[in-house]
Symmetry: C2
Subunit: 511 residues, 2 copies
């Protein structure tokens, strides 16, 4: 058994190495690649993904996984080996249903669509992107069809499962309905008190280089280390890792708006810090990435919002910000700044949205994606549908497609079903936050002193080190002793925003 | 036949895609990778190279190549298909002798040694690099042993053949002896007239950012295009391409020395321009890279020296340089500057050496490499041997290993046998130069107007587009109608340097 298990691990290690190579190629494609290299890169990525896929769905891996059952049963189910076998088997069952040609075509098509999306967004012309999006959706349908008979309730569940194992559309809908019910009146209430927050200081003249310097002041305090991390500009911010010692954050700078890049950088730091914290013993195995995108987003949103838009950390960072941009912030009180970075106002761009309206951006995408998949909504009509729903949910008019339907990179890469994980990440982030604050009562004081080590250690110990050993519901249950629950998140928003906007305190069990 | 040939081409295209992915990973490793990621990157690269190797030496490729013999014989030997089959067969015969584990280990060991070399060089401490170099040399011996009975005259020939098919140590020695015989007296003669050249203007205060801006002014004129090219800083300059639309140059900046980075950038441009000029019809085949490193270096050295250190191009660029650095060059005449960039003076660093002494740096490495391989020179004694020969050939004392034996990246990656191609590139560059100048009499005038299009077209038409279709002696024969010959190069140097230093004109057939 041991010899065969070692053979399995060795095969998985080489597959992992190729996946990391692929990750670097993807990062390069978004940050460094000369634009005209796009079509060739699509071939390179398609070939690499096909090859990785073929190696993984090899019958021999299937046999080795079967042979490992006895060994697996002899182990503590929480042991690294037992988890590796279990998680790999699940991956294998899914992957072996997907033909290598389709795998390659999904990648190639996504890589080509990326260039079209960049151009389409630059020119704010949806028609450039449309044929590529159609191709991506067509391939997504072919991909979904691979899972006929595997017990998925509906097409969207197949996609959700790729980003968060076992996540169901119905469960997402229940959570999103609760969010809507809680958030719509809160946002309306705040709309009556907009004069209580002044965010004019966040808009002005912020040279890219100085923004980057200040972002690094913050990130280095949080745990960014130049020996193992990078920060680069890109069109759409993301984080990527090629191992715990190769963590790459990206951000985009708007010289007129400080918040856009700063909070995106902190958001991506949260992703990077998660991946940097995976137990090195899991390196070069199936378990060395992270467990689900919802948990991943819980980390990025926690650092961005619960820490990064909190008052304690700005007691430490604000004097440094004033020093970096004296003309902007020299005369602005910390409380005013704290209000500014938490201002609630319906706006166009998801990644720049405040904590309350953010979720409506996600719900809109979640609904549109389902309508696209069901065929209810034709892709030609997508911009109109987008704009109508923006008016409906957020009460704002979309001036152009660049700031509307073309704003996000996801669909260009064929990533349909990803968006819900952001809002679920919000929900989970507060569940984790409540737990860690109960265990670490000195956090605020530490943050005020620029010390983020204890929160980091807690997250590593309780979540990060496990990598993919547990799926998100197992993981959440281990940490908070229960399932996903939007109530703490809504309570957190009501309290924080209620205080900032001076809203009347609610009585009773409102949530 | 056609179907099987298509199968062969399709397999080669896949292998090519993976090689391009590997090229990007290598570029990233030298330019962007966080330092601590080195050990993991070594695994990723080792795995990728092993798979590429396994795919290529697959028996099925051997069979397909055999099956293609009939088709090959029916073709014009100059056709793309005939060349593809011929060149791939040669590659296959060599590669199939190398076990995949050794291939992976060569790569892994080289990647790990790179990090050790960087540290060793930074600290100027050869002992840090020594064990890694020993490992590389040991693996090189194992590699050489793979070719027993393949008809190589000696160990070094095996290595030369990887960089320049068919190149023999004896042939290199003959050329290098001629170079020595011609250059030593020339350098000695110049040493008596050092006061005729003043290069003080090249040393001063040149901020990196401004150096980069000016380098791009030059490179863009020569043919650098931001849609398909990049320029990045690195420890040791190199050029890399991942296809004709993804050309990446690197350079290193010395803020006290303008020439170091500028001429390295132009040198790497020469490499990049060669790779950018390969016929797109050869893309994703064995033929889409370039034919030999000697020809490759002929292009880099041509742009760096024959064009980039020539007077005509500086008639165009010098006013722009004066504008960029008025404090340095405002009062310096063009003739003085032209002398400065062509100053002959024995110096420590190969990549910064003048055209005459450069070759002695190479001859030194060529000799040391052979002594290392034969065991005549123990690696522990390498710094001493290096320093002794620098004193002997160039009359200068090496102050530390960073500026001595540790200056070049090549041995860290296991690239033994590469250095000779630089000096052969010098030799070939002038043979090509004489030919193209005979065909293009207006070049000087064009350069003076900043027009480099005709020389570029000539090089593309006669050399670049062919990719790997011909080896370097076939290629040279096609272009100049004869074999490698150092006489034109020596004549060129005597004329150019004789004029700059006001040396007495030689009479008779001195060369």
């Amino acid at each position: 058994v041991t010899e065969k298990y070692e053979e399995l691990k060795s095969r998985l290690a080489t597959i992992h190495d190729l996946r990391m190579a692929r990750a670097i190629l993807g990062w390069d494609q978004h940050t460094k690649m000369p634009p005209k290299a796009g079509p060739l890169r699509a071939e390179h990525l398609g070939t690499l993904d096909r090859f990785i896929h073929e190696l993984f769905i090899d019958d021999e891996i299937g046999k080795l996984l079967e042979d490992a059952r006895g060994y697996e049963e002899s182990l503590d189910p929480d042991s690294d080996d037992a988890c590796l076998i279990r998680v790999t088997r699940r991956d294998y069952e899914k992957a072996s249903r997907v033909p290598p040609d389709l795998r390659a075509e999904l990648t190639r098509s996504g890589a080509i669509a990326l260039a079209a999306w960049v151009e389409s967004r630059e020119k704010s012309d949806f028609s450039i992107f449309l044929p590529y999006l159609k191709k991506n959706v067509e391939l997504t349908h072919q991909y979904i069809d691979c899972f006929d008979g595997m017990g998925f309730d509906n097409a969207y569940d197949v996609l959700l499962d790729d980003f968060d194992e076992g996540l169901k559309t119905d469960a997402v809908r229940v959570v999103f309905d609760e969010l809507k019910t809680g958030l719509v009146p809160l946002i309306a209430q705040i709309a009556e008190h907009t004069d209580r927050v002044d965010d004019s200081s966040l808009y002005g003249d912020f040279p890219t280089e100085k923004q980057r310097d200040f972002a690094l002041v913050v990130l280095e305090r949080l745990g960014f280390d130049h020996e193992s991390w990078r920060l680069d500009p890109t069109v759409h911010p993301f984080a990527m890792s090629a191992g715990t010692t190769d963590i790459r954050l990206t951000t985009r700078y708007d010289e007129g708006n400080l918040g856009a890049s700063l909070f995106a950088s902190i958001h991506e730091f949260g992703h990077g810090y998660y991946e940097a914290g995976v137990d090195p013993a899991l390196e070069r195995t199936t378990l060395s990435s992270v467990t689900s995108m919802s948990l991943h987003e819980s980390q990025s949103r926690m650092w961005e919002n619960l820490i990064g838009r909190g008052l304690p950390c700005w007691r430490f960072f604000y004097p440094k910000l004033q020093e970096a941009f004296p003309a902007q912030f020299g005369d602005v009180e910390l409380d005013t700044f704290y209000g500014a970075i938490n201002k609630v106002q319906p706006s166009l761009i998801r990644v720049e949205a405040d904590e309350a309206t953010y979720n409506l951006h996600i719900i809109l995408r979640f609904e549109l994606e389902q309508e696209i998949l069901s065929g209810e909504l034709a892709l030609d009509d997508l911009p109109e549908a987008w704009n109508a729903r923006m008016a409906d949910y957020l009460g704002i008019e979309v001036p152009d497609d660049a700031r509307g339907v073309l704003q996000d990179v996801h669909w260009s890469g064929g990533a349909i079903g990803y968006f819900p994980t952001y809002a679920l990440g919000n929900v989970i982030s507060v569940q984790l936050w409540d737990q860690l604050r109960a265990e670490l009562p000195q956090l605020d004081t530490q943050f005020e002193q620029g010390d983020f080590s204890e929160v980091g250690q807690w997250l590593r110990e309780n979540l990060h080190r496990h990598g993919r050993k547990y799926n998100s519901s197992e993981m959440l249950d281990r940490i908070v002793g229960g399932p996903m629950d939007p109530a703490p998140y809504l309570r957190y928003l009501r309290e924080k925003l209620g205080e900032i906007y001076g809203l009347p305190v609610e009585t009773g069990a409102a949530v």
